[in-house]
């Protein structure tokens, strides 16, 4: 995901699992501003829009608080929609979905992205927990090694992965991915 993000000028990363940061066992994100509070994020994005910044890269880590995590997530979706023309990258998106439903705000970002000028990127280690609509409408997929039958089934049914590519998935080495492109062709991506 990060490799795809470097060239984007307006990015909001939803750091669900806290993977990114400057602490031990976290991935650094040079050039990104780290925010931990939804109100600060809102203020930050408003300032960026008002002052017409030429670049805004934010990593938002919603630390545990009294706020409902789903409400916080929905508010971030609204913010990026109103901000417009930016990338929303959601880590472990299944935290905000069931296999058959997504919050209204995320659904809008998934389906009406062109209206808002959004590019939605997402990651999930549990493919079976991802809303099948999101898998279906995604233009490109990168599938790492999966072993559970239900995960493979979710990718097969909703991810549009050809059987030949699917056969490779359980045996992929670390950091290798099947890249299914928009036109349906696929290739193995190595680091």
């Amino acid at each position: 995901m990060l490799e795809k993000l470097w060239s984007a000028l307006f990015v909001v990363i939803y750091n669900t699992a806290g993977d990114f940061g400057n602490g031990p066992r976290q991935k650094p994100l040079p050039g990104f501003h780290f925010i931990f509070d939804i109100s600060t994020l809102a203020e930050w994005m408003l300032t960026a829009r008002r002052e017409n910044w030429q670049r805004m890269r934010v990593c938002f880590t919603p630390l545990r608080s009294k706020n409902d995590p789903l409400e916080v997530f929905a508010s971030v979706c609204r913010l990026v929609q109103d901000f417009g023309d930016c990338v929303l990258a959601v880590d472990e998106v299944w935290n905000f979905q069931t296999p058959s439903s997504s919050p209204h705000e995320l659904r809008e970002s998934m389906l009406q992205w062109r209206h808002y000028g959004l590019c939605l990127m997402w990651t999930a280690q549990i493919a079976q927990a991802v809303d099948k609509k999101l898998l279906t409408v995604s233009t490109e997929l990168y599938v790492g090694r999966l072993n559970l039958e239900n995960d493979l089934e979710a990718v097969r049914r909703n991810g549009g992965l050809p059987q030949q590519a699917l056969n490779e998935v359980p045996n992929l080495p670390d950091w290798n991915f099947i890249h299914r492109m928009e036109n349906g062709t696929w290739k193995v991506v190595k680091p």
């Binding site: 470097w6 940061g21 991935k27 780290f34 109100s39 203020e43 508010s75 590019c119 991915f177």
Partner: protein, 200 residues
């Protein structure tokens, strides 16, 4: 003209919409806490005056701080001025003009090369120190001179009577040229799928 006007109006409208959303968020989740540095957040530093009318993003959006980039640029040209004449030295206005494009280049290429390297700080340190040492040392200076001559085409006109091999032998520190080896990128631990959304 009409399209310009409508685009300005759309911009105002979208800012107003964003403002409403932000107000709603403040109402629901409370006002933002005071701007204490959070864990992982960079401290505020002073910066070079960008000049009148220039709006710059906050400091921590830069891969290498602007001040450092500017000082490196000035150092580099100052070193050249000792060999090629004082007209190589950058004036304040020139270095201010060159800094933004250099910072943009570093912002674009820096993360690609070093962003996900475990040894990012080491590579950057080696590159910066290498440059500092190179512009001070005789051999490094001649190497830089040779590179600049090659770029500007001055080398073509004169026969190669100088001794690049000897220079290399003298040089104890390459000018950071090998640092691109750090460019091996790795994906995040949270591997999985990544894709932009698609329109029905």
């Amino acid at each position: 003209m009409d399209s310009q006007t409508s685009s300005v109006e759309t911009g105002k409208q979208s800012t107003a919409q964003l403002q409403d959303t932000v107000a709603g968020i403040h109402e629901k989740f409370g006002a933002p806490p005071p701007a204490d540095p959070q864990p992982g957040q960079q401290q505020t530093e002073s910066r070079v005056d960008p000049g009148p009318g220039v709006v710059e993003p906050p400091l921590d959006h830069d891969f290498i701080p602007r001040d450092t980039v500017r000082e490196l640029l000035e150092l580099f040209f100052s070193s050249l001025s000792k060999r090629h004449g004082s007209h190589w030295k950058l004036s304040g206005d020139e270095s201010r003009a060159l800094t933004p494009v250099t910072v943009d280049m570093v912002n674009e290429q820096g993360p690609r090369l070093f962003g996900e390297s475990d040894n990012r700080a080491l590579w950057i340190f080696m590159m910066v120190m290498g440059t500092f040492i190179a512009v001070r040392s005789e051999a490094g200076g001649r190497l830089i001179e040779w590179i600049m001559d090659t770029i500007t085409g001055a080398n073509k006109s004169k026969p190669r009577t100088d001794k690049p091999a000897e220079e290399k032998k003298d040089s104890t520190q390459p000018a950071g040229g090998s640092t691109t080896g750090a460019g091996s990128l790795a994906f995040s631990d949270s591997s999985g799928f990544q894709a932009p959304g698609k329109q029905h």
